[in-house]
Symmetry: C2
Subunit: 131 residues, 2 copies
């Protein structure tokens, strides 16, 4: 990642784009954003590199939301709110993520990650419903 030659330009751009995003984008969303600077970038490249970063633990997957996998460039444990109306995902850093991995460990499991997801309707979708 320190390398910035042409060979890694796109890879770096994908990671950077995700890390600077607040929207917990999907591969497709990142692809659309990256196309502005790299018109010839391929969707496959975005998928490939996201999978790579995910496997390396550099980014995290939030799982499938509305049929599409969403990513987060911030691997620090924090809760997420997912709007079932519009698919928006927002961080809930203050919520913290309680370490309840003890029970799983007692069962002989190795816990590698704890994820907390709240689901519901965001402000926008709620007001949209009023109308």
């Amino acid at each position: 990642m320190e390398r910035s030659g042409k060979q890694f330009r796109k890879r770096n751009a994908i990671l950077s784009c995700l890390q600077h995003s607040r929207s917990h984008p999907s591969a497709e969303t990142l692809y659309e954003a990256l196309r502005q600077e790299y018109p010839d970038i391929s969707l496959a490249t975005v998928y490939r590199n996201l999978a790579l970063f995910r496997d390396q633990g550099i980014i995290q997957s939030l799982g499938t939301i509305g049929g599409v996998e969403r990513f987060d460039g911030d691997t620090y444990p924090h809760a997420h709110f997912v709007c079932s109306g519009c698919g928006a995902v927002v961080d809930l850093p203050e919520a913290g993520v309680p370490d309840c991995s003890g029970i799983a460990r007692e069962m002989g499991c190795r816990v590698e990650r704890v994820q907390m997801i709240l689901t519901g309707l965001c402000t926008d979708c709620l007001s949209r419903k009023e109308e």
Copy 2:
């Protein structure tokens, strides 16, 4: 659901099969199980009814695990452990699910569900790694 005539036999069977399962099965897994009693059941019927139950809040979806949506017949809030090795999902009833929905509500969101998922390796997969 009270109706048990031929018309609802399969629908009831799908729900019952899920509710009596410990494995948090996918549509496909349920389909295979149900085929023993209903050889002519269709995978589409399983998908359709699971979506129905899910939308009615009778069951819950655990989201996509290993590319496949998994379901839980128990809607009482409880944490889950997901093994990234074999895809096993186990309940962690004692873990509880802390109500950290206050922060989301302060943001104007309506929280409808809180989900906690631990990911890691189960006992079996750990010992399999040793070998």
